[in-house]
Amino acid sequence: MPLKDSLYWIKLKGKHLSDGIAFLFHRLTGLVILLYLYIHFAALSQLIGAQSTGGSNFKNFLKTVESPPFVALDILLFLVIFYHGANGIRLVINEFGIGTKKRQLFFWIMMALGIIGWILLSYVVVNAFLHS
């Protein structure tokens, strides 16, 4: 397959927001989440043996991540997750042939739900951080 054809999903020209562009962002956010999974594994490895040691390594790690730059990164990660989740639910439902006739409307409903979820979770996390 020629390279220009194989990269069809990454091109924006001539695509609708609720169609190809949403799918492009779905894939990009998927890659970010996959990368984060392995960063998460690395972070959790500091809990190995914590039952006997009391988890001093992880306590130090928690002190580092409970700081404004990491909270900001958490909020960004939540946005990535909520986008991927909301758009993913739409794609799964679409695969069953539901909501395909009103794609634009369905897309925006799912985006609205995703943004509401993101704002609520971000509020809880920021609030907890400010009061810790």
């Binding site: 069809y8 799964v92 809880v124």
Partner: protein, 115 residues
């Protein structure tokens, strides 16, 4: 519907179906995980609370299910992206991703039982 938003044509039908099934499971697993860690846990996310939870066999089973779903969904999605690039050595890509998946699952389970 247009096929621009589906990986149906990029991977085998069974892999596509499993991608949908794991997606549904992921909504549940990730939803519970985010709730426990950031809503309930936001009051006090401590090492003690994590250790206490992880000793519960039901939570262990939950996280093993989560691990299987997230590794399959993530790496199968990556496979769809790589295949869409037009790479011809699909068997090699499949092999590499299976090795990464197995190592990820073994390491994840090791983490659960070594904490």
């Amino acid at each position: 519907m247009t096929n621009q938003e589906s990986i149906k044509g990029s991977i085998a039908p069974i892999a596509w179906l499993l991608q949908l099934i794991t997606a549904i499971f992921m909504v549940f697993f990730l939803g519970v995980h985010l709730w426990i860690m950031h809503v309930e846990g936001s009051i006090e996310l401590t090492v003690q609370a994590i250790l206490q939870r992880i000793q519960n066999p039901w939570w262990k089973a939950f996280y093993i299910g989560f691990l299987l779903a997230v590794v399959y969904h993530g790496l199968n999605g990556l496979r769809g992206i790589i295949f869409d690039l037009g790479i011809k050595r699909k068997s090699l890509i499949n092999g590499i991703l299976w090795v990464i998946a197995i190592i990820s699952i073994i390491y994840g389970i090791y983490l659960l039982y070594s904490i």
